[in-house]
Each structure stands twice: as C-alpha cells, then as structure tokens.
Amino acid sequence: MSQLFSQLGIDWHLLISQAVNFLLLLIILRLVAYKPLLELLHKRRAKIEEGLMKADEADKRLKEIDQIGKEKIKEAEGSALQILKRTESDAKDLEAKLLAEAKRKEEIAMKNAEAALRAQEEASRRATEEEAAAFVRAAIIKTVELSPSAIDDALISKAIKEARQG
C-alpha cells in the first residue's frame, strides 16, 4: 500500500499542507467574502421589500387622497352652485332696488324740471308782459307826443288789464 502511495506521490505532509491551505481559504473567504456579501444581499432584499411595501402604502394613500379630492371637488361644486344661486338672487334684489331708486330719482328730476320750466315760463311771461308794457308805453308816448291831452295813464292801465284778460 505504501509503495502504491509512494508511486502515486501521496505524502501525508503534502496532504496536510493542501488540507490546511484549503481550510484556511474556507475560513478566510467565509469571513471576508461570503458573510459580508450575504449580509449585504439580505439588507438589500429587506430594503427592496420595505420599498415595495412603502410604494403599496403610498399607492393606497394616493387613491385615498384622490377619493378625498373628488369628494372635495363635489362639495366645492355644490357650494359654488349655492353661491351662484345666492349671488343671482342678490343681484336680482339689487337690480330691483336700483330700478326703484332710478325711478324715484327720475320722478324727482321730472318734478324739478317741470318746476324749472314753470318758473322759466313765468319769468318769460313776465318779461314778455314787461316788454309789451314798455312797448305799449312807448307807443302811447309816441301817440301822446302826437296828442298828449287825449291820453292819460288810467286809460293805459285799463287797456293793459283788458288785454291781459283777453
């Protein structure tokens, strides 16, 4: 047997050295490479799972927010409609009030205008009377200058009075 081993080159010294070489490599690789790398892979997997979970949660939250948003928009639309209706009715009230006010002001203005017109008419009638009187006086004076004894002031006033009544 030992001759066979010797022919095959098997030497227990070399066996031990190769075995120790491998065992050392196994220990070092386990500590330096496999363990940290496996830990890193676990950490990464946990992180990815956490990320996926958070993404799911965010998705749910987004859907909830979307739902809430839709409800809020619906509420806002409802309240906007109410506001619109209220505004419309307010506007109608205001319009009626303004119309009434305008009518009242128009009536006042009409009254004022009528009064002014009457005053103006009165003034112009007076002016016309005065002018006519002055004209008659001037005519009479002219007539009197022709025959002053036949005319007196009483006649003139009588004539004017009659003319006014007529």
Partner: protein, 250 residues
C-alpha cells in the same frame, strides 16, 4: 520531456517538502484571498465592478443550491463549503493553464523541475480536497440529523436488507473519496499531459484548441466537484437518507 505523476519537490521547510503543486495552490490561495479583500473593501449597496461579478456568482450558486437543497436557509448555510471547493479547484485549474506554469524551470537536487504545476495534477491536492469534502459531508450530516441518525445510515439492524444497504453506504463513503480525488486528478493530469505532448509535437497554434478545451475541462471539473459535494451534503442532511434506497430495494 519528462512526465511525472508525482509533484516535484522545490524545497523543504524542515521535514515538510514544498512541491511545485503546493506552490501553485498557495498562489491560488493568495489570488482568491486578494480578490476577497478587494471585494470586501468595495462592498456597496449599489454594486459595481467586482461586486457585480461576485454577486452574480453568489446568486447563481445559491440558485443552484436551492434547486438541490430546496431551502434558501440551508443553501446559505452550506454555501461556504461548496463555493470554496468550486472556486479553489477552478482557480487552481485555470492557474495551471497560464503561460509560465510548467515552463519556468528551477534546479533542485533531483535535477531541473518546473517551478509550478497545476495543483489538481497532484493527487495530494485532490485527495486532501476529497477527504475534507467527505468529512464535511459527514460532519454536516451529524449536525443536521444527529450522530445517531447518521450512524443509522451505515449501521442499521432493522432487517438484513437495511444492514446490507448500510454496509454499501459505508463502502460508498470510501468510494466517494477515491472517485472525487481520482476523477479530478485524472482529468487535470491528462490535460497537462495532452498539452505537454501537443506543445512538444507542434509548438505553435496547435495547442490552442486543446488549451481552450482545458479551460472548459477545468471549469467542468470544478463544477462537478462542487456539485457532488453539494449533492452528498444534501443527502447527508436529509432525515430519510438510506431509507429511500431500502424502500426501493423492498
């Protein structure tokens, strides 16, 4: 041209001979350690460069182990043994194909010998790995199912058939060592011989296809060594091992 089945002694440390195959095994050891240290120093949550390769290898190995062991926790537990066997054998085989290995010559008391030799072309390397693999298989088996459960695989006195199967299992443990060591040794040594002869007969270009073949053989042999270790571990750590073969025999 001399082809020796034995690895040649380069020098001695006390009574310990240091052969050219031990030297290259040490180089493989250093290469792997240096790569591991570089990897360790560059580990980041977002991988890049060497970490990408390491993660791809680790993930591939874990996937393969999952398919055999059926459990990720078990795969992670036995990963160091299986992957180290694979990487060490692969690195040794490929280093043995590098230019310079076999062509750097040193003068020793026995004459001129190559400075390096592929570690797997030395039975001491393959036998040491085989012994370690089988020892680990049994140790992990004991750790998983207990000493009693493991011994029951070899010494089962329930009936004559289980007893006979147990004896076969015991013999197969020794057969594993022999098959492990001689398969790897035979393939790598044959490759070395083939390359040496081709280089001797037709030094230019002709060895190239054989070199490519040896690169492939080096990978396949490392893969087979690792896979067999994995399969034996898987059988050893499962509760029903031994009983299935009895059931089949019945």
């Amino acid at each position: 041209m001399a082809i020796s089945i034995r690895a040649e002694d380069i020098f001695h440390i006390g009574n310990f001979p240091i052969t050219n195959s031990v030297l290259l095994a040490v180089v493989a050891f250093i290469v792997l350690i240096v790569l591991a240290i570089i990897l360790r120093s560059k580990l980041k949550m977002i991988p890049g460069g060497i970490q990408n390769i390491a993660e791809a290898v680790l993930d591939g190995a874990l996937g393969l182990m999952d398919s055999v062991l059926g459990d990720r926790r078990k795969s992670e537990k036995y990963l160091p043994v299986v992957l180290t066997v694979f990487l060490f054998v692969l690195c040794s085989n490929w280093l043995g194909l590098l230019p310079g290995v076999g062509s750097f010559i040193v003068r020793t008391g026995d004459g001129t010998v190559p400075l390096f030799r592929s570690p797997a072309a030395d039975l001491n390397f393959t036998l040491a790995l085989a012994l370690i693999a089988v020892t680990f298989v049994n140790a992990l088996g004991i750790a998983a199912i207990g000493l009693k459960g493991r011994l029951k695989v070899f010494f089962n006195f329930k009936n004559p058939i289980t007893f006979f199967v147990g004896i076969l299992e015991l013999i197969s443990e020794f057969a594993k060592i022999i098959s492990f060591s001689f398969r790897l040794f035979g393939n790598v040594f044959a490759g070395e011989v083939l390359l040496t002869i081709m280089a001797f007969l037709l030094p230019y270009l002709a060895p190239l296809p054989f070199m490519c073949l040896e690169v492939f053989v080096g990978f396949i042999q490392a893969f087979i060594f690792g896979m067999l270790t994995l399969v034996f571990i898987s059988m050893a750590v499962s509760e029903g091992h031994g009983e299935e073969s009895v059931a089949v025999a019945n």
